[in-house]
């Protein structure tokens, strides 16, 4: 017996829990019913936030899921994604899309941080050069042009090499800090 004409059964996540603390029950309901109420059957649970041991916990009644799948109930995308991650179904293409998106965001973050770091370095070197010129202004003018070039070029290559190594260290630090600070999966 259908509760309303055109009713379809759906397996989806019902959000329980509290403000800023989600907890999902994986549930079979009719598609037009409110998200959390009037469920037909509970099939499992999903806790998105990591517990004390740093895990996300998922429990599913695979027998009943199989039964509903056989009888043609609709599964929403997040539920299918979870089933794919667990290994009961093949991996959903949307998880691959998400993975790509996250890697792209990470690379953009790295780029931004790189540019910022280089800018800061340039400012510092500019300052140093200005200070040196202020201090030894007369000496630079009196000496010939050749002598000026060689030490400065050496310094530049040295600074570039050290820059690269320092850059990597500083980048890794700032990336980890950014990862920790971000709420999204970056």
């Amino acid at each position: 017996m259908k509760p309303y004409p055109g009713a379809k059964l759906v397996v989806r996540m019902a959000r329980y829990g509290c403000t800023n603390r989600p907890f999902y029950q994986i549930v079979v309901t009719w598609n037009r019913y409110p998200r959390d109420r009037k469920i037909k059957e509970q099939l499992g649970f999903y806790d998105r936030l990591p517990n004390l041991t740093g895990e996300q916990v998922l429990g599913l009644n695979l027998d009943r899921i199989r039964h509903h799948f056989k009888h043609g109930t609709e599964f929403t995308r997040p539920v299918l994604q979870l089933l794919g991650i667990v290994g009961y179904f093949p991996i959903h293409p949307y998880t691959l899309v998400e993975a790509k998106r996250i890697t792209r965001r990470r690379e953009e973050l790295e780029q931004k941080l790189k540019e910022k770091y280089l800018e800061e370095k340039e400012e510092e070197t500019d300052k140093i050069v200005q200070d040196e010129s202020d201090q030894s202004g007369e000496e630079v003018k009196s000496e010939s042009v050749d002598i000026d070039h060689s030490p400065s070029t050496d310094n530049q290559t040295k600074t570039v090499k050290s820059d690269v190594t320092n850059l990597e260290e500083a980048l890794s630090e700032s990336i980890t800090i950014a990862k920790k600070a971000s709420v999204l999966k970056i």
Partner: protein, 370 residues
């Protein structure tokens, strides 16, 4: 007195202790160096031995049934009003039989003595392309066991998807946690409480609460958990050091302790204790069990048939047993046996057998409840 108990606590424990040996130790303060903890042999597989019918009946007989002790050991609830009833003799017998049967069923739920479980963890799939999505490990448990007939914990499927993207079966610790989340056992915590830390355990043991601690350990861990084995070994060694076997007699832990001691070749103290308390029939059964465990055939060899419990067989068994003991112990044991023979062995045996027959008669009585 070099123990760290207050005066009142000291008196309390002194009164609870069941034998002179332990009282002396408490007075003197325990010397750590003199006691050698028993070592479990690795060549004998204890579990199939333990679960044999003959072994279980012997352990049941040795434990006996002590209703007073179990009434004392109950956890303290709100005091109930005492119920007084006038009851005919038949009815009284039936009620007593009920309580005996209940006790026996509790005692038969003794924790088996097993080896530690092995780590099983194998890889099922490798998908590094999902790795960016997995910020934490995903612990998955299949809850379909609610709707199925098989309920063993080993059959439950627990699987973990790593942050690297590899799908693998969970380690034993992860399995325990997941099974406790989805199929909770009453009294068990997911993360072990500080009750089982060595300092707190020692505190409880000092106050002679052996069966209380053992019950808690049985609730928290499965019998093949390495922590379970470690804690029970500690408790049994503590009891062995003080020869406090009577504290467990009548509880479900006595059988496992007796089995453990027999495995580690430390059954002598228990045999002495039994001889002191004039439980001759128990001694004969226990020595039979000991010979069975350490026979060459192992689990294939059958228990020697229970010959009649009389003086001749007792002397025969004790003779066989004392071939293995040497030195001081032999003299001690011989003294005990001589004193018993002087005191009148057949009467003591009769008494023990009548006790056992009483228990058996109660257990066989037909009642409505059990």
């Amino acid at each position: 007195m070099s123990c760290n108990l207050s005066k009142a606590a000291f008196l309390q424990t002194f009164r609870k202790l069941s034998c002179v040996h332990s009282q002396l130790l408490l007075l003197r303060g325990v010397h750590v160096s003199q006691f050698k903890p028993p070592v479990v042999p690795t060549d004998i597989d204890p579990f199939p031995l333990f679960m044999e019918e003959g072994v279980q009946t012997i352990l049941n007989d040795i434990t006996g049934i002590d209703l007073k002790k179990t009434a004392l050991l109950q956890p303290k609830k709100l005091p109930l009003k005492p119920v007084l009833r006038a009851v005919p003799d038949k009815e009284l017998k039936r009620l007593q039989a009920d309580s005996f049967k209940k006790e026996r069923s509790k005692i038969e739920q003794r924790p088996p003595f097993m080896r530690a479980r092995k780590e099983i963890s194998r890889e099922l799939a490798r998908n590094p392309e999902i790795a960016p999505v997995m910020t934490n490990n995903l612990l998955f448990i299949d809850t379909s066991a609610f709707t199925r007939s098989e309920r063993a914990n080993k059959d439950k499927v627990v699987v973990v998807r790593d942050t690297e993207g590899t799908l693998r079966t969970a380690t034993q610790e992860e399995r325990d946690r997941a099974i406790q989340i989805a199929f909770p056992v009453r009294g068990r915590t997911i993360f072990p409480s500080s009750f089982f830390k060595p300092e707190n355990l020692h505190n409880a043991l000092q106050r002679c609460r052996y069966s209380y601690v053992l019950d808690k350990v049985c609730v928290q861990y499965d019998p093949d958990h390495p922590e379970f084995l470690r804690i029970t070994k500690e408790i049994y060694d503590y009891i062995l050091e003080r020869m406090e076997f009577d504290a467990l007699r009548g509880t479900r832990h006595f059988g496992s302790m007796a089995f453990y001691l027999s495995l580690c070749h430390r059954e002598y103290e228990l045999v002495l204790d039994m001889l002191e308390r004039k439980l001759i029939v128990d001694v004969m059964d226990y020595i039979r069990l000991h010979r069975k465990i350490h026979s060459q055939e192992g689990s294939k060899g059958s228990l020697s048939k229970p010959l009649g419990y009389d003086k001749k067989n007792f002397e025969k068994l004790m003779g066989l047993y004392m071939k293995r003991i040497t030195g001081n112990r032999k003299k001690q044991a011989e003294k005990m046996v001589e004193s018993l023979l002087e005191a009148g062995l057949p009467e003591i045996i009769k008494e023990n057998l009548s006790q056992r027959e009483l228990i058996d008669s109660y257990l066989k009585l037909e009642t409505n409840v059990y």
